[in-house]
């Protein structure tokens, strides 16, 4: 490597996640991975493929189909000094472990007066778009972001897929990592020495001056495409990737709004009681006088995500619906 060029490698989001797991397993012997089919099958999204052979069945552990039991076991292991990574196949299934997550993982530090901490990372797939129907396609990031005591991260880029895991493991409190399943095949260039990244701040993914598009996770790619299309219409859109949904980095969001004065929030969750609603509310509370137009939202239709392709596509945010909402927001006064 010399000063002029930085060595990069072609990599997918899935491989970046695997590299992050491998690094963590190598770096600290307290780290282990557990979940349904993570070992012999290599993970239902093939993220942990090959790790059983490399690290052995003490550290790559297949579990029974019992989310409550193995998430609870992860909490217990973390309490006893381990750094567990628990994979839950989809966030729909994580509801079976909600009691463990909400009543134990999120509370024990507080209920023990700070005597115990739970450095647990729970990874789960989220989102629609693969015709897996209503029981495998929902987005519950916003729900989890409601709960104090846990941190919610949503890697949307190769860098974050590669870098968020280690930082999350180093957090003394539980972190839930939502991996949008449409992203696993995302492919691109990543610097060869990519490593841990910060999980405290939102990131500006594209700079612009006419409006701010706020998004996260699986909708980031669509939002960036929408920004490209908007540029063709003469509208300069800034794109903010929230990255961490709890705690929310409002200073970054409001800093962008102070520049553009208009905002559209793109959130694959349902609109009612959504994370998008929370961002709107905080913007009203903290930056009402920056607004030059009402804030708009592009969210999922208020239906269980449908199975048929055309209905599924119509139910979730798409490039076209983001562009339309953005144009309405800027042309209101153009």
């Amino acid at each position: 490597m010399n000063a002029a060029t930085v060595a990069t490698m072609r990599i997918t989001y899935r491989d970046a996640l695997r590299e992050a797991l491998r690094e963590a397993l190598r770096r600290d012997e307290r780290v282990f991975l557990m979940g349904e089919d993570v070992g012999r099958y290599g993970g239902s999204y093939a993220v942990s493929k090959g790790l059983l052979e490399e690290f052995g069945d003490a550290r790559i552990r297949d579990t029974p189909l019992s989310e409550s039991a193995f998430v609870g076991a992860g909490i217990g292991a973390a309490l006893n000094g381990m750094l567990p990574i628990v994979e839950v196949m989809t966030c729909n299934f994580s509801l079976l472990a909600l009691d463990q997550i909400v009543n134990n993982a999120a509370t024990i530090r507080h209920m023990s007066g700070g005597q115990f901490s739970i450095p647990l990372v729970i990874r789960m797939a989220t989102g629609a778009g693969r015709q897996l129907a209503a029981q495998h396609s929902h987005s519950f990031e916003g729900w989890y972001a409601h709960i104090p005591g846990i941190r919610i991260v949503t890697p949307a880029t190769l860098e974050d897929a590669r870098g968020m895991l280690w930082t999350a493991l180093m957090d003394p409190d539980p972190v839930i990592m939502f991996e949008n399943a449409l992203l696993y095949n995302l492919e691109g260039e990543l610097v060869a020495d990519a490593g841990a990244v910060d999980i405290d701040h939102a990131a500006m993914r594209r700079s612009g001056s006419d409006l701010t598009l706020v998004t996260y996770g699986g909708s980031l790619g669509k939002t960036l495409q929408a920004a490209d299309r908007l540029a063709g219409e003469g509208v300069s859109a800034e794109v903010i990737d929230l990255r961490t949904l709890r705690p929310l980095d409002m200073p970054t969001v409001l800093g962008s709004l102070a520049k553009t004065h208009r905002m559209v929030i793109v959130d694959e969750g349902w609109k009612s009681g959504s994370l998008a609603a929370e961002i709107m509310a905080r913007t009203m509370e903290e930056a009402f006088f920056e607004l030059d137009a009402p804030i708009a939202r592009v969210c999922s239709a208020e239906v269980p995500i449908p199975y048929p392709k055309h209905l599924e596509d119509a139910a979730i945010p798409q490039v076209g619906t983001i562009v339309d909402a953005a144009l309405r927001t800027v042309s209101r006064h153009a």
Partner: protein, 389 residues
């Protein structure tokens, strides 16, 4: 035919913006009736008319800024025949067309984005005069920026033309600065102060108030106001105006009450004929005045008429205040806090309730001796509270 003209609503007013007509052609108006709302540096003021008759014609459109003395409306006196159409004096002014709202704007509240509103405040743009880029649309930052640029361009060739601005807090500060600078520049003030024993009036008031319901109770300042007004009758050199190099005494005592506004600034509108009003009437008038000051709606006569000013900072714990005279008035009376103080009476020390009354007066009009007589009269009147009623 009576001509109703833009009144001067303060010593430093040069022009005002007609915000609203409260009358229409054909209406019967009575002397003293509020007929229009005019925006000045001191806020929106209801302007009264001083002739009775029938409204013949409204000459000026709402939204127009008009210099003091300009014709606003024509009034037909009782019995006067309806003027033939031809005789109407000024032709419909083709003047500043841009400020007349376009008829295409729909009824109801203009929608303005919060950010546009804030920007307008920062740029000193009157948001009510900004037009949205599409008829019926929302006023955005871009519209405010356009209006600010237009105002800038308009302002450049004619320097004294002040842009009409809704930011009247800043404007009020300017107005106070102008009036007070003029006062200190032109008026040779002299200052006197006297401690007055108010034990009797305070006790009397406390007893009066026990007989009253909470809503009817009198504030301590009320008997003071009455006593000041009565004392002014005995010292006519303190009550009136200095105009064109000469003093014009006023028969009536219109007591200007200095009232602080929320968020800064102050006004001193008149309580008319304070010397002739009962304490209850003074209380009612003061309450009404404060409410309207805070709500930003004063009447023109209240702004222009005070013959003297009373400032009372006692509630803030101040013991004495030496005021700056509000021109063209010639005196300002100050009242401090009522405190228990040791006093020597008949060779012994007793504790009495005492207030420090001050006078700042115009030496062109009166001398310290006359001022001293005024304070003495005030002190005497306050010893007989039951006679203040």
């Amino acid at each position: 035919m009576h001509e109703f003209r833009m009144p001067s609503l303060g010593a430093d007013m040069e022009a005002g913006t007609l915000v609203e007509w409260m009358i229409k052609p054909g209406d019967e108006v009575k002397r003293g009736q509020a007929v229009a709302v005019v925006e000045t540096q001191k806020g929106a003021i209801e302007v009264e008319i001083w002739e009775s008759g029938t409204v013949e014609r409204l000459v000026v459109e709402p939204g127009t800024k008009v210099p003091v003395g300009e014709l606003l409306a024509l009034l037909r006196a009782a019995g006067e025949p309806v003027a033939p159409q031809v005789e109407i004096l000024p032709p419909p002014a083709p003047a500043p067309v841009s400020k007349v709202p376009s008829p295409a704007v729909p009824e109801g509240r203009q929608r303005i984005s919060p950010s546009a509103r804030k920007l307008a405040e920062e740029l000193g743009v009157d948001i009510t005069a900004v037009q949205p880029s599409e008829a019926g649309g929302v006023i955005s930052r871009a519209d405010v920026e356009r209006a600010a640029q237009a105002a800038q361009a308009e302002k450049a060739p004619a320097p004294p033309q002040e842009a009409v601005t809704g930011d009247w807090r800043r404007q009020m500060r300017k107005a106070i600065a102008a009036a007070m600078s003029r006062s200190k520049r032109e008026i040779p003030h002299y200052y006197l102060g006297a401690d007055i024993n108010v034990t009797r009036v305070t006790n009397w008031l406390a007893e009066e108030n026990t007989k009253r319901s909470v809503a009817e109770r009198l504030l301590p300042v009320i008997p003071m106001m009455k006593a000041v007004a009565l004392a002014l009758r005995e010292a006519p050199e303190m009550n009136g105006f200095w105009v064109d190099g000469a003093f014009r005494a006023s028969e009536a005592v219109h007591l200007g009450m200095a009232i602080a506004m929320r968020g800064g600034g102050l006004v001193a509108p008149a309580i008319h004929d304070a010397d002739r009003k009962s304490l209850d009437q003074l209380m009612a008038d003061l309450r009404d005045l404060i409410t309207r000051v805070r709500g930003g709606r004063l009447r023109s006569s209240e702004m222009a008429d005070p013959t003297v000013t009373l400032t009372n900072l006692g509630e803030q714990g101040v013991e004495q205040v030496f005021g700056v005279i509000y021109p063209p008035q010639v005196a300002i009376v100050g009242l401090g806090k009522i405190t228990g103080r040791p006093r020597a009476e008949n060779g012994t020390v007793v504790v009495r309730k005492v207030i420090t009354a001050t006078l700042a007066a115009d030496h062109r009009v009166s001398d310290g001796h006359r001022g001293a007589l005024f304070l003495a009269a005030l002190g005497r009147l306050l010893q007989e509270p039951e006679k203040l009623r």
